[in-house]
């Protein structure tokens, strides 16, 4: 079935996405990148994207970038005269007063140049998807007028694409977050990209978006932020080494790479080291650049750039006739919104946390892809399949939470696992169904519990109880437990187990992250205790089974070690238990030695749960069902 792809035709970079199996997929280009530089080299060889960028310096007059700024513009527009001064390629007046570019004597319309970018994306998408692509949804800035929209549509047609719809970039971003589901709401979209800043106020009602206002700064973006870091590095280097790097093109190139990397790193770390060995040399020998840049320092360097985005937000609100408090959702677009300070400013301005989670470089293309999916019938509804927001599992020996369905698993789904008993002759097990990310049962939410009884008495670890979780598309969870020997079965149905609010889910996930180290330690302690108990049991059983074949001294040694371990079982630390268990395990091997030649079967189990020696599909796994009292 032919797909309709979504294309974000950007000023600096373009991206594309498609709906597949009810969810979106960003389509990488042939070079393997998720975004493609919107750069076109025209001339002998026609190049688009990274290859075009590589030869930009060689052929500046043949290499067109930021063509989006010319789309649908008249030659007389103020914006065009401005661009004429800064662009290395020639901008001329074309047919009907249209702003065009002239390369090697030939005039190209902005549509034709954009079409070359779209054609590359189309070819790469066809290769990736393994099918012909003829239809697309393309995004444009909300402030684009009719002429600019028409020009974008024409570019698509030239590239051999039937443009099913032109949608606004902020609308696409909101779609990517599924905000079209909201009844009636006002949304702000903050888009700080590589070279432009846009803020849009949208109103949504019954799945239809209306742009109430837009504002921004057409010459503010990530490149300005990089430049600030480069300037700082040049200053610092001059202070330290007395050498001016600003005239050295090779050094500048390396500074630019390092600045971009440092900026990205400081979105997740508080401090980064910028080191460029052998950046330059003078009479005294080679010189190296090595500076620490903290997040705080970076924020100070770019503070005025970030502050510059506040006024447009105020203006957009004013134009829409709204107050900050009217805005219910805030969506972030563009790579620069990864910067924590940018988030902070936006959050402080609107007084609410912006939507995050989708790659801000791809979110517009994704929204366009979703729109393409809706138009193509791939999706009636944006979210066909849901995921379970929290892990579902059962409580096992020692109060450990054992997961069966991990969080973020796409539903409907089912999972089953075999468990066993914790005590000899245990005839019933209790199944406590848990929801949550914590390691211990007590810290998770119990959704319900039931008892499977009437199991034939057997030594511990022998019975096989198959526990099955089945989570349907509506989030209804069916849990069943079946004793394989007797065929007895019990089940429970939990309705709306996942019906938690977003805040509750986030809190539960957050708690798990905060307690991760502590929980892990507690769980390891319980596991050590279980292993120790198991080892004692194995030792006693082995001694019983072997009878008087075991020499008296070995027997008393083992009995002594079992007693030592049992005495401290409830109180000792995990490390202590592990070493004592190991000790007992070594002593146990003496039974084997004494009975050498009498066949296996009684090989003492190491008792270490971590070892995957009972991972077979038939054997009980992952510890035992908690003992029924």
């Amino acid at each position: 079935m032919p797909k309709i792809i979504g294309i974000d035709l950007g000023t600096t970079n373009s991206a594309m996405a498609v709906m597949e199996g009810g969810s979106y997929k960003v389509i990488p280009n042939l070079e393997g990148g998720n975004t493609t530089p919107s750069v076109v080299a025209v001339g002998v060889a026609e190049l688009v994207g990274v290859p075009a960028k590589r030869q930009q310096v060689v052929n500046p007059r043949n290499t067109v970038f930021s063509i989006k700024r010319l789309m649908g513009r008249h030659f007389g527009d103020a914006e065009v005269s401005q661009l004429q001064k800064t662009m290395p390629y020639e901008i001329v007046e074309g047919k009907n007063g249209m702003a065009c570019v002239k390369i090697e004597g030939k005039v190209y319309t902005p549509q034709e140049i954009s079409a070359k970018i779209l054609a590359k994306l189309k070819t790469d998408a066809e290769k990736f998807l393994g099918q012909a692509i003829t239809e697309a949804v393309i995004t444009v800035p909300a402030y684009f007028n009719d002429a600019q929209r028409t020009a974008t549509k024409e570019a698509g047609q030239i590239a051999g694409l039937d443009v099913k719809r032109i949608i606004n970039e902020p609308t696409a971003a909101a779609l990517a977050y599924g905000l079209d589901k909201k009844k009636s709401e006002k949304i702000a979209v903050y888009d700080l990209g590589g070279g432009t800043f846009d803020v849009s106020i949208l109103e949504i009602g019954d799945g239809v978006f209306e742009v109430k206002s837009t504002n921004g700064d057409t010459h503010l973006g990530g490149d300005d932020f990089d430049q600030r870091i480069i300037e700082w590095l040049i200053d610092e280097f001059k202070k330290e080494q007395g050498v001016d790097l600003s005239k050295d093109r090779q050094a500048l190139q390396r500074l630019k790479d390092a600045a971009e990397r440092a900026k990205q790193e400081l979105s997740s770390t508080m401090e980064t080291e910028i080191s460029i060995p052998f950046i330059t040399a003078d009479a005294s020998g080679p010189k190296h650049l090595n500076f620490k840049l903290t997040r705080a320092k970076l924020e100070q360097l770019v503070d005025d750039l970030i502050q510059k985005t506040i006024k447009p937000m105020e203006n957009a609100l004013k134009d829409a006739g709204l107050a900050k408090t009217d805005i219910v959702e805030v969506v972030m677009v563009g790579g620069m919104t990864r910067m924590p300070k940018v988030n902070e400013i936006v959050k402080a301005f609107f007084g609410k946390d912006p939507h995050k989670g989708i790659n801000p470089d791809e979110v517009v293309a994704i929204g366009a892809g979703i729109q393409g999916g809706v138009l193509g019938g791939d999706v009636k509804d944006v979210l066909l399949l849901d995921v379970t927001p929290l892990t579902l599992g059962i409580e096992t020996l020692g109060g450990v939470s054992t997961p069966l369905i991990k969080r973020n698993t796409t539903i409907p789904t089912s999972a089953s696992q075999i468990f066993s008993t914790a005590a000899d002759s245990q005839t019933s097990v209790e199944i406590n169904v848990l929801q949550g990310e914590r390691e211990l049962a007590a810290d998770n939410k119990s959704l319900g519990r039931f008892i499977l009884d009437g199991m034939p008495p057997a030594p511990r670890g022998v019975p096989q109880v198959e526990v099955t979780f089945d989570l349907d598309a509506n989030g209804i969870l069916n849990v069943s437990a079946k004793d394989k020997a007797s065929g007895k079965e019990q089940k429970i149905t939990i309705q709306g187990g996942t019906g938690l609010s977003k805040d509750e889910i986030e809190k539960m996930v957050g708690d798990a992250q905060n307690h991760a180290a502590d929980d892990k330690r507690k769980k390891e302690e319980i596991e050590a205790r279980n292993a120790a108990d198991n080892m004692c049991y194995t030792a006693e059983k082995s001694l019983r089974d072997a009878g008087d074949k075991v020499p008296a001294d070995v027997k008393s040694e083992i009995e002594g070690k079992v007693k030592v371990l049992r005495d401290v079982l409830a109180t000792a630390s995990g490390d202590d238990l592990r070493s004592k268990t190991q000790d007992l395990s070594l002593a146990l091997q003496k039974i084997g030695q004494a009975m050498y030649g009498q066949g296996g079967g009684q090989q003492p189990d190491s008792g270490d749960d971590k070892k995957d020696d009972k991972g077979g599909s038939d054997g009980p796994v992952e510890g035992e069902v908690v003992e029924d009292k």
């Binding site: 030869q55 310096v57 060689v58 990736f128 393994g130 190139q253 052998f278 080679p286 066909l384």
Partner: protein, 148 residues
């Protein structure tokens, strides 16, 4: 049994729903098949280029070691660099062989500066060596060119 108008409508609705569901099911299956094919392809690609990202990052260390070699005449250093180079060589890394005097080629080179203004574009200096990992360019050579 007499068919009332309601029955006919319900029947129609059901048929439409059935069509829609069957259609969705086919789409999901088709998407799944395509995904399977791509996962296979990607798996092969991952195996082929498992080290691509790591090696790409190590290249700047290699640059610096080589530069160090020209400044410090030390046998130990030379042996260390050689060992490092050998490991990368074993993984399939080779130089792109870009030399001064070569005609500019965007496939293997990235121009950082130029002189002159003619049709003949030639490399006058390689400021950063280029490499390929097996047959894929992992980093183009950074060059200064002269147009004559």
């Amino acid at each position: 049994m007499v068919n009332t108008a309601d029955d006919v409508n319900i029947h129609k609705d059901c048929e439409a729903k059935l069509d829609e569901l069957e259609n969705n099911w086919k789409r999901a299956l088709a998407d799944y098949k395509n995904l399977q094919r791509r996962v296979e392809e990607e798996k092969t690609a991952v195996v082929d280029f498992a080290n691509f990202v790591l090696i790409a990052r190590l290249l700047s260390v290699l640059d610096n070691l080589e530069m160090l070699k020209t400044h410090i005449d030390d046998v130990g250093l030379k042996l260390t660099v050689k060992e490092f180079e050998q490991i990368l060589l074993d993984e399939g890394l080779t130089g792109l062989g870009v030399n001064v005097g070569d005609t500019f080629a965007h496939e293997t080179m990235e121009a950082v500066d130029k002189d002159g203004d003619g049709d003949d574009v030639r490399v006058v200096e390689v400021v950063r060596k280029g490499y390929k990992l097996r047959d894929k360019v992992i980093r183009p050579a950074r060059v200064l060119v002269k147009k004559g």
